[in-house]
Symmetry: C2
Subunit: 333 residues, 2 copies
């Protein structure tokens, strides 16, 4: 099964390679209607597909972008992937999906491979542990956008949630409903991931703004598997929390699982709000109040930022774009 090339097409259509190439690049002014037709037919007949690899080599553009998510298990990540894919499809780009698994080594490996593959740009949920690599890309002027997390000192375009506000919305709501003993659980201890820090800070600040003493026992940062333990510890406290803020959808699932197992009622025994919308939120019993991240909007914005870097349109935007979450007010609090 010999693959057929532009040379074969040229031969069959009895024109030169250059003319075929002109045709492929839609520069029809350089040829007669007749020639155009003939080439068109030949391509059809031979079922010719230009080799994009060869084109990319010459043109230094692959119409492909990489998306490196920190952890593909978060619903948020898959929503973002979906939306980015959708955005770039319309632009004629393909996306290569990479799951760094919260592992900086893996992230590094992926980024280097993507660059070696000459992708036109990368959207990364940075683990935060590859500073040198990020810096190099930056200094190479390689198109790159951070998603979900920022690394202050780098000045790389970033799209992320206003995490401080996310916590504030939740804590305000708890307080409004009369709760004062408010706990928070987040995951991803390992690195200084900005969302986690900001969410905890937002939590603390908002408590303070309501004049509530913050209690270190009410803050947990643990791996998913340890969430049941963490919850047990909460409820063994002399003054167990009356309300819990879940840092993401995985935490929320674990909390609800725990509640079910221990026959506890929401919100009577403990009120719950989750950051990240979940599909069952509005038909669970009770319906779950969540703080929603505008994932599609975030993805579109990141994609747009990346595309403008790739096309070098607009002036270089290296700012941190913080999108506002919104409280989806339901009955779990």
């Amino acid at each position: 099964m010999k693959t057929i090339t532009i040379t074969d097409v040229a031969k069959h259509a009895k024109v030169s390679k250059s003319t075929v190439s002109q045709y492929l690049n839609k520069r029809y002014e350089y040829m007669s209607e007749k020639t155009r037709k003939k080439i068109e037919e030949t391509i059809e007949e031979l079922n010719y597909q230009p080799n994009i690899i060869a084109r990319s080599l010459k043109q230094k553009s692959t119409f492909t972008v990489g998306v490196v998510v920190a952890n593909i298990l978060h619903t948020f990540s898959t929503q973002i992937i979906r939306a980015i894919e959708n955005y770039f499809y319309k632009q004629g780009f393909h996306i290569i999906v990479c799951n760094a698994d919260d592992n900086p080594e893996k992230e590094k490996n992926y980024i280097e491979m993507l660059r070696a593959k000459q992708v036109d740009g990368i959207i990364i949920f940075p683990t935060g542990d590859n500073l040198d690599l990020y810096k190099r890309m930056k200094s190479d002027q390689f198109p790159i956008v951070f998603m979900d997390r920022t690394i202050e000192e780098l000045n790389i375009a970033t799209v992320m949630l206003d995490n401080h506000l996310a916590s504030k919305l939740a804590v305000d709501r708890f307080v409004e409903k009369g709760y004062e003993k408010i706990a928070i659980i987040t995951t991803s201890i390992i690195h200084n991931i900005s969302p986690r820090i900001e969410r905890i800070q937002g939590y603390k600040d908002t408590l303070a703004s309501h004049g509530i003493q913050f209690n270190a026992d009410y803050i947990k940062t643990v791996n998913a598997e340890e969430i049941p333990n963490a919850l047990s510890e909460f409820f063994e406290l002399k003054k167990p929390p009356q309300a819990i803020l879940a840092g993401n959808d995985i935490v929320l699932n674990e909390i609800l699982r725990f509640m079910k197992k221990h026959d506890m009622n929401i919100p009577e025994d403990v009120a719950v709000i989750g950051i990240d919308e979940v599909p069952y939120a509005n038909f669970y019993t009770p319906t779950i109040t969540t703080v929603n991240q505008p994932a599609i909007e975030m993805a579109n914005q990141a994609a747009e930022l990346l595309l403008s870097q790739i096309n070098k349109t607009g002036k270089k935007d290296t700012s941190v774009h913080r999108l506002k979450p919104n409280l989806l007010s339901r009955n779990s609090c």
Copy 2:
């Protein structure tokens, strides 16, 4: 920012391009220890990254595979993507993710672009409407594996669920619990998608095996948005169903949403089983009985089949691999 190439490395290290290439390909026998060291250092110093596009052009292999899912909104699709990504990461392959959106045109476009990009193989959830295209790939001996759906006449390696069994497990369970008025709702009307047909057939056959008269009013195939209507119609029947089988996770969500809205109790007012496991299944009230597809296993098997086609190892396997679902027995039925 001039990119540096193998030529630069060769010059700096004062050896020929070929020797550098030998080094890159780890054929160290062809050079002295001294040369090896020198090249190594030079690469380090210049921060050289081989251009994989150029390599691919020559080698006709890109270490990239495409995954074209029919509809990325199904949890099942994202699970499969995850698992495939994970499998291929270990093999040094990248995956390009494509969402055909149940649209044959889009599917065609994606497949052609992927081939033009010289991916080494494709895993497809076929829409079923591009027969010629599938045939051409087959006759080109292009590595391809079908996922979730089969197209009988094509003899292309396929990994899919034993859908007949999936329905059987559910219906058996319903009957065992004493229900006789059993309904089924599926989505994706448009094409003759095999899973849908098989699930409905499995449903009919199993009813028959229990000597239950099948009732056309109890079968609905509708788009996601029309599910509430479909359910309303069920409950307006003289003899509304006592049990409903949800064809996938989206349907299940809609059913639960409907029940909640109309204050109906599961399983008292109507029993429910879903095909596809959902994250909330074991902490929902009631916990939801589901028929689970072994997504990871399916993904691994598909990836393995594809890889063996790519590497031309083993004899050509063009059979349909049907994996067994299992009933996760809980309280919604």
